[in-house]
Point group: D2
Chain length 375, copies 4
C-alpha cells in the first residue's frame, strides 16, 4: 500500500456526529491521514476540536477560504478535503477547495439552489479535480450488489421503484427545545427551502436512481409541514416517472414515529425484484416469481468486495469508509492520468441531479402535486 | 345459541377459490346453514357443485333472479345470501336479492359504475335489508384492534397513512395461458374499467379508511399497464389527501414479483404509529417515539374479541368468518328491530366509497396524475 | 361429496378453548356433523353447552361410558368421536369408545402412563378402529411440506434437529389465582407426573420426529420447576440422540416470558436445512449453503395441497381441520376395506411414542440428566 | 485526546481476515498507532505485509519472542500488542509479551490446555499488565445494554439461558480443498482438541455468562463430528447448570447450513426476558408478560454509549473497536495507578473460564453426556 493521502476536514467539530463519522470512515481503510482542519467557525472551539483529533495547532483554521489557500501553498498541503458543514455552506466551501485544486468529498446537498450546483459542476469540470458527494448509502456492499444485479439483468426490465426514508426525530417541535441538529435543519437560511426533502429525500432519490439505473424524468409531490410553526417541510410524498417507462413512489418523512432511520428500497422488474433496507444492511432479498431468496453480504453468490466474511455485520461507518476508499482510488487514478469513468462513487453529476430533484418537487407541491419535469 | 340462519350462495362453483372460502367462513362460527345456491350459470356445473356441498337438487338454481324469487316465496326460504360472482354481475345479483327482501353479503366492488352503486344504495335504504360488503381484511382481529386504538387516541392525531397491496401473480401475461382468474379479472367487460385498481386497490383504500378513521378527499393517481396487451391497469400508484389534513400514499400492484399478497398498512399520528400486514396478521406494531411494541392477537393489552388464545394463529378464513358472524349479528338485531349503527361490519356505504375511489383514480390518471376529488 | 360422518364430542363445554376449536375444525371441511356429546360432567353445564352447539338434549350425555354404549346402540349413532378432556381422562374415554367400535380423535397425551398407552394400542389393534391423536401442528401445510421435502432428500442426510416450544403463561403462580387451564395442567392428578413435558414437550417431540423422519433413541433431560410451590415441571431441556446418528436438542418451557406459543423446528442435513415456526406458519425456510429461500404455502414450488392460495394465511383451526379431514379420509378408507398406511395423520403409535418420551425424560432427570433410552 | 498508544501486532499477515479486522478496529477510535509487528513467520510474507500496513521495515519481525524483547528495549517501543495467531500459539506469544511488561489483547482461546491458561493468569497477576481477551461480541452496544439491564433487574431473577452459535462453513470437508482457515481450525495440533467447541462454543459460553451475570457450574455435552474424516468436533450440544439455579442450553455448530454466523442469546428471568442476535446487532428485544418491546441502539431508553445515532447501524468492526477503546482506557487507568475493576472488558479470568468450559465439555462427551463440573 502506498503512502496515505493528506486529508483536511471542514466542519464537524466536537460533539458533531457527522464530522466524527467522516473522520473514522476516512481512517478505516487507512488511505488518508488527517493533517489539517477548519472544525469550527468559533476560534476557541476550532482549536479545542483540532487538539482532540491530533491536528497540529498551526494547521487548525477558522476560515475555510484561508485554509484552502494556505494548504494549497504548502508543499505538504492537503490533497483532499472532507466538507461536513450545514447545507448553506456546502457551495462556498466546495468552491474554495476546488479552486485551490484540492479534491473534495462533500456532504449533500451540493448547494441550496440548482444554479449554484451547476456553477460548481462547471468549475469542477474546468479544474478537473475529483469531486465526490457523500451519498453514504451508496457505500453499503449490498446496495452495490443490488446495483450490479440490476445492471446484470437479474430482475429484467425495471417497472416499479419504491423508495422510502421515514424518520421520527422531528415528530414534535424539537427545534424549539435546543436540539442543535434540529435547529439548523429546520432553518431555511441554513438548510435551504427544502426540509426533509433536502435532508433525506435526496438520499432516497439518489438510492433509487443508483440501484435501479433509471433516471427520474418527472415528479408529482405533496410536501407537508405537520409540526406547527415549523418553517420547512417535514414529510414528502411523491409519484415518480422514469425516462424508460418505469413508475415509482418516494416517501421521506421526519415525523414517522416508529422509525429511527428506515431507508428502504425495492425495485421490481419484469423477471424479479430486489429489496434492501438500511435496517438490515447486510442482506438483500432477490425474488423471482414464487420464490424469495435472502442473500447475505459476502456470501458465495455475491460479486461485490467486502471487508468481512458473511455474518460479521458491516454498518454505516464501513459504508462511508467505502466512499473514502473509492475517493482515494479515484485520486490515485487521477494522479496516474487515468481518471475513472463507470465508478461506484457518487460524483458531482449526482449532486446536481439531487438539486434538480429538489427544485421539481418544490415546484410540483406549489402546483397542487401536478407532474413536473426534472430540468 | 339460536338456530342457524338459512343462507344461500350465488357463484363459487367447483374449483373457485372465493366461493369455497365463503362457504367455509359462513360455517366457522355456526351461525348459518347453506340451503340453496346458484353456483354456476352452467346447469351441469351448478348441479354437480350443489351436490358436492350438500344442497338439495331442487334448491340448486342456474339463474340468480329465479333463485331470489323462488326463495323469497318459500316459507323456509333463505334469509341471507352470499354473492361471489365476477365483478360485472355484483350489481344485478345484489339488486335481485335486495328487492326480494333478502339480506346480502356481497363481494367487492359493488358495481362497475358509481351510478349503479348509488342506485343500489338507494334500494338498500328503501328495502331496509342488511347489506354487507366482503372487505375481508376488516375481519382480522388485529385490524379491528388497530381501528380501536386509533379511535381511542393511542397514536394521537393522524398525519400520514401508508397503504400498499403488492401481488405478483399477473407479472406476466397469464391471461393468455388459460388462467381463469386472470382471464376475467383482466377483461374490462367482466371486471370493469379498473384492473388491479378495482381488484385490490379498493381493498387497500378500504383498509386505510377503516383503520385510520379518516376519509380520503382527493387522489392523484398514475395507473400503469406493464404487461403488453393487457386491457386493464396492473399497477396503481397514488397520493392521497384526507379530509382532516392527513396525507397518504397507496400502491396496489399485480406485477410486484416477490409478493404473493402483501397488503400492509401503516398509520402515523402525532403521538405514535400503528403497523399491520396480512403477512403476519396476528401481530400489530404500536410505536411511540423511541420504542416499538409488538402486540399479539389475544394478548392481555388487547380489547378485541378472539376465538383462539395468543400464539394460535388465525388466518384469512377466520377473518371472513368474522364478517359472517357480524352479518348474523346485524340480521338478528334487524329482526329484533334494533338495527346496529357503529358496527365493525363494512356496509353499503363502504361499497359506494370504493366506487368513488375508482372513478377519481381513473379521472386522475387520465389527467396526468392531477389531484381529483372523490365525489 | 358424500354425506357427513356423524361425530360426537367428549369434553369441551362452554368456555373451554380446545373444545370449541375441535368443533370448528371438524366443521371447516364439512366432513362431519356434530350430533351427540358429553360436554361436561356437570349435568347442568352439559345441558347448557349442548344447547349452545345445537345438539339435541336427548343426545347430550354426562357420562362418556354411557354415551359410548348408547350411541353404539343407535342406528344413527355417532361413527366417530373427538376427546377433549383433561389428560388423566384420555385413557378411559378413549378405551370406552374404542371398545364400542367408534373411531377416535384423541387429544394428547394418550394416557398418564406408558402401560395404559400400550394397553390402549393393543385394544385399538384388536378393535381395528381408526385412532387419531390431535398433534395439531402435523396439520399445518408447511409442516407437511417440510416432512415431504426431508423425505424427498431436499436437505440430504439429517444431522441435527433443534426444536423448541416456549410459552410464558405459567411464568408466575397463576394456578393459585383461579386460572382453570393452569389449575388442572399443574395438578399431577389430572395432568400426570409431567407438566410442561407432557403438555407441550410432547408436541415438540412429535413435530421433531414427524418432520425429520428420525426416531429418538435416547434423551438426557433436565426438568425444572421454577415457580415456587408448583407441583410439576415448568421447563424442560433435553439432548436427543436419534437412531441414525442425528443429534438434537429440545426445549419446552411455560415460564419463557416473551413467547405466547413459540413452537419452532429446525432440521439440518448434510445438504441443506429446513426451518418452520408456528409464529409464521405459512412460511418455510429452505437453506442450501450460502443461500436461504423463503417458501410460501401454496406457491408454485410446493406439493402439499392447500385450501387458500399463497398470501391468504391459514392458521391453527385450519391445521386442526386438516387432521379432521385426514380422519374422515381414513374412516372412509376403513369403510371401503382399504385402510391407509403411510398417512400424514398422527395415530396411536405416535401417541405411544409420546408416552415413552415422557417416561425416558422423567427417568433421566431423576438421574442427573444422564442419557436414557426410549423403551 | 492524549497521544495514541504505540501498538504492535502479532499474526494477521496479508489475506488474513482477523488480523485486518484487529488493525481497523484499533484505528477506529484513534487510540492506537500501529508501529511494529510480526505479521508472519515467513520472512518474505512478514516484510511484504508490514510494508502494506505502513510499518517501518526495521520494526517488522519474524519471531514474536524477538519482537517482545526488542520492543521492550526501545524507548519508543510498543506499549501494547494484539495477538491474532492460530490457537496453539496464543499461549507462548502472550507469555512473551506479558513477561516483557507489554499489555496484551489476545484472541481466544487463551491456550490449548487449562494448565497453560492458569499459568498465564498467574504470570499476568505477577507482571500486573493489562490483559484483554478478544471476545468481540462483548463489544456490541446492545450486548452491553442487555448486560446492564439484567444487572439492573429488568428481567428479575434469571431462570433460563439459551445460547446458540450456528455456522455453515464447515458443513462439508472444506479442509481438504485448501481452505486455509478450515485447515488450521480442524487440525488438533494447531487448534487444540476442541474444534467448534473452542472456535465458537467459547464465544457462546462467554456471551451467556457476560450478559446473564450467571456462572456455569456444570455441563452435559454431546460433541459430534458429522463430516467424515474430520479430526475435531463440528457440532456441540450442551445442557448448562448455573450456580444460582438457572438452567440453560448451548448449541455451537459449524455444519448448520443456513447460518453464516448466527450467534444468538436469550435470557429469561422471572419478570421478563432479553433477546439479542449478531444477525441484527443493533436491536434488543425486551419482553414482559404479554408484551415485546424492540429497543434500538442509541435510542432514548438505552444507557450504553454509542458512536452513531439510532438507525445508523454499527457492526463487527465497531464491536472490536470498543474492546480496543476499553483496552486503551484500562491502560490509561493502569498508568495513572488506578486500575479498573468492574469493567466491560473481557480479561484473563474470562479466558481461563473458557478453558475450563472446554475441559468440562470434553470430559462430559467422553462420559456419554453426563454432567461435569467446571473446575
Amino acid at each position: 500500500m502506498a503512502r496515505r493521502l493528506r486529508l483536511g476536514m471542514v466542519g464537524g467539530g466536537i460533539g458533531g456526529f457527522f464530522g466524527a463519522a467522516h473522520r473514522i470512515a476516512a481512517r478505516i481503510d487507512d488511505r488518508f491521514e488527517l493533517v489539517a482542519a477548519a472544525l469550527s467557525s468559533s476560534p476557541e472551539r476550532a482549536k479545542e476540536s483540532a487538539a482532540q483529533v491530533n491536528i497540529a495547532s498551526y494547521r487548525s483554521y477558522v476560515d475555510f477560504e484561508e485554509m484552502a489557500q494556505q494548504e494549497a501553498a504548502r508543499s505538504d498541503g492537503i490533497e483532499a478535503v472532507g466538507i461536513v458543514l450545514p447545507n448553506h455552506l456546502h457551495y462556498s466551501a466546495a468552491r474554495a477547495f476546488v479552486e485551490a485544486g484540492i479534491h473534495v468529498m462533500c456532504e449533500k446537498p451540493l448547494a441550496t439552489s440548482l444554479a449554484d450546483a451547476e456553477a460548481l459542476a462547471t468549475l469542477v469540470a474546468k479544474q478537473s479535480v475529483v469531486f465526490a458527494v457523500a451519498y453514504t448509502n451508496a457505500g453499503f456492499a449490498m446496495v452495490r450488489e443490488a446495483r450490479r444485479l440490476v445492471k446484470a439483468g437479474a430482475i429484467g426490465k425495471v417497472r416499479v421503484v419504491q423508495v422510502e426514508f421515514p424518520q421520527e426525530w422531528l415528530a414534535s417541535d424539537v427545534e424549539s427545545t435546543g436540539n442543535k441538529q434540529a435547529t439548523w435543519r429546520t432553518d431555511p437560511l441554513r438548510s435551504g427551502r427544502a426540509g426533509s426533502l433536502g435532508d433525506i429525500g435526496t438520499h432516497a432519490f439518489h438510492l433509487a436512481e443508483y440501484v435501479s439505473g433509471q433516471h427520474v424524468e418527472s415528479v408529482a409531490a405533496q410536501l407537508s409541514t405537520f409540526v406547527n410553526g415549523r418553517r420547512v417541510d417535514d414529510d414528502v410524498q411523491m409519484l415518480l416517472q422514469f425516462e424508460d417507462g418505469a413508475k415509482g413512489m418516494l416517501w421521506a418523512s421526519q415525523v414517522a414515529i416508529g422509525h429511527s432511520n428506515g431507508l428502504a428500497l425495492r425495485v421490481y422488474g419484469d423477471e424479479g425484484s430486489l429489496s434492501w433496507s438500511v435496517v438490515e444492511p447486510n442482506l438483500l432479498k432477490l425474488a423471482r416469481p414464487g420464490e424469495v431468496r435472502i442473500i447475505e453480504r459476502g456470501s458465495a453468490s455475491t460479486a461485490t468486495p467486502v471487508r468481512l466474511p458473511p455474518g460479521h455485520p458491516e454498518g454505516f461507518l464501513e459504508a462511508l469508509a467505502q466512499l473514502y476508499a473509492d475517493f482515494a482510488d479515484a485520486i490515485s487514478a487521477y494522479k496516474k492520468g487515468t481518471p475513472q469513468s463507470a465508478s461506484f462513487l457518487p460524483g458531482i453529476a449526482d449532486g446536481v441531479r439531487g438539486m434538480r430533484f429538489i427544485e421539481a418537487a418544490l415546484k410540483s407541491t406549489a402546483a397542487n402535486a401536478s407532474m413536473q419535469k426534472l430540468d
